[in-house]
């Protein structure tokens, strides 16, 4: 077990007042709150912060923690002193936020899992029968899955309180039909697949937040899908038909003559097939062949001669 330096986590001095600790907590909580923060390690930092605050905001726990002395370094191998816990009587801190099962072994050993309220008060404890908690997970799917309504296998890991009262990691595999037309950021609700209820309480629901796996060619915005399509200069100038791969299969796309880079061609209702289907936009991107042989250089020179073209006319140069 590793020693945790709660003062360092909160960025306060060991002699900080309770007010200073509270202010530091609020400030860091705003910075790392997973609902607000875009920091990559926000969730881990927030949990660590919650644990540190749980101890330091409570004068009893703080005094006990301070009693360990200052000789410990963060991360150092730690064993509680033999007389630990004698003479301290902890009252529940009333801290309901960070789930106690997320706290570290270090916290556990010092204050016990029950330190945030009786051992079984995890779920309000108001009645003996209670509906299980709703659970949340993210799933990464391919854009094509949202088009076809495919079935995907999802493996979820979650923590459940085992028969011994300690949390255990449970893994389960579900077969989930991806609803056709689902979009990034939406949630698939699976009724009755959340945490088990207490007593006769029914199971909670499971919510899967949908995220599209980043794709080389497709970009999604709301219901609309964008594809960048490289075209040859002559295809753009003369027009023509190009086979384009879309999430729902290949289509023959007609390129109008005299198209330029950035031109958007709309394929109506070929975006994500939601209730209000999105459109598919093909964005043309003129690709230039390299002039790497004498013949190709000559072709470019002929090209220049045939056109008296000033590409910068628009910008007055």
């Amino acid at each position: 077990m590793r020693y945790k330096d709660y003062y360092a986590v909160m960025g306060v001095d060991r002699d900080a007042t309770q007010d200073e600790i509270k202010r530091a907590y609020r400030k860091l909580a705003r910075k790392y709150h997973p609902d607000v923060s875009k920091e990559p390690d926000a969730e881990a930092r927030f949990k660590e912060l919650g644990e540190a605050y749980e101890v330091l905001k409570d004068p009893e726990k703080r005094a006990a923690y301070d009693g360990l002395g200052t000789k410990w370094q963060a991360g150092q191998d730690f064993r509680p002193p033999p007389d630990w816990n004698e003479g301290f009587e902890f009252h529940g801190g009333g801290f309901t936020r960070g789930a106690p099962q997320d706290f570290s072994d270090f916290f556990d050993t010092l204050f016990g899992r029950g330190a945030t309220g009786g051992p079984f008060t995890r779920t309000s404890g108001r009645a003996f029968h209670a509906r299980g908690e709703d659970t949340y997970a993210k799933i990464l799917i391919d854009l094509e899955d949202a088009y076809s309504g495919k079935t995907r296998t999802v493996t979820l890991e979650h923590t459940e309180v085992g028969p011994d009262g300690r949390p255990a990691v449970t893994q389960r595999t579900l077969n989930v039909r991806i609803p056709k037309g689902v979009r990034q950021g939406q949630h698939i609700r699976l009724a009755g697949q959340g945490s088990p209820g207490i007593g006769k309480g029914e199971r909670g629901d499971l919510y899967l937040e949908v995220e599209f796996r980043p794709h080389r060619y497709y970009r999604v915005e709301g219901n609309d899908v964008f594809i960048d399509l490289p075209v040859a200069p002559w295809e753009a100038a003369l027009g023509g038909t190009v086979k384009v791969r879309t999430p729902s299969g290949y289509v023959d796309l007609t390129i109008p003559p005299n198209s330029s880079s950035g031109r958007k061609l709309r394929l109506k209702d070929r975006g994500i097939p939601a209730k209000q289907p999105g459109d598919l936009f093909v964005v043309l991107n003129v690709a230039l062949p390299k002039a790497d042989t004498d013949a190709k250089k000559a072709a470019y020179a002929d090209f220049a001669q045939a056109f008296e073209f000033n590409p910068r006319a628009d910008v007055g140069m």
């Binding site: 609020r26 909580a29 705003r30 709150h33 609902d35 607000v36 927030f46 919650g50 309901t96 936020r97 309000s124 509906r131 709703d134 079935t151 296998t153 255990a168 990691v169 449970t170 893994q171 389960r172 595999t173 579900l174 077969n175 989930v176 039909r177 609803p179 037309g181 689902v182 950021g185 939406q186 949630h187 698939i188 609700r189 699976l190 697949q193 629901d205 919510y207 899967l208 970009r219 915005e221 709301g222 964008f226 939601a274 209730k275």
Partner: protein
């Protein structure tokens, strides 16, 4: 680690944001909050009911997500309900702007 395999059956879900419509009672059950609290959240604009009075209120599925987020923000950041409603609106706006920015930078 224990493992429970429910692979035999295929679960069919619904899209919370589009297909799910909930009554006040259903919102209370799903979020495990009292009706008074849910009504307060509606009054402060955290969630937007459709309908005239609480008995006939209907909520879009996305309300559950906003409630969950609101509860966390209130507890963790010491905000009041009106403050949370503002934060949620700003977060949505921020999300929209980030999406647009992503498109421009792509």
């Amino acid at each position: 680690m224990t493992s429970r395999d429910t692979r035999k059956t295929t679960l069919v879900g619904t899209i919370l944001e589009e297909e799910v419509v909930l009554s006040l009672g259903e919102v209370c059950r799903a979020s495990r909050l009292s009706a008074e609290r849910v009504i307060e959240l509606a009054e402060e604009g955290v969630i937007e009911p459709i309908g005239r009075n609480p008995a006939s209120w209907r909520f879009r599925g996305v309300s559950l997500r906003r409630i969950r987020c609101a509860q966390r923000l209130e507890q963790d950041l010491g905000l009041n309900t009106a403050g949370v409603a503002l934060v949620l609106d700003l977060l949505e706006e921020l999300e929209e702007l980030r999406t647009r920015l992503g498109r421009i930078e792509a």
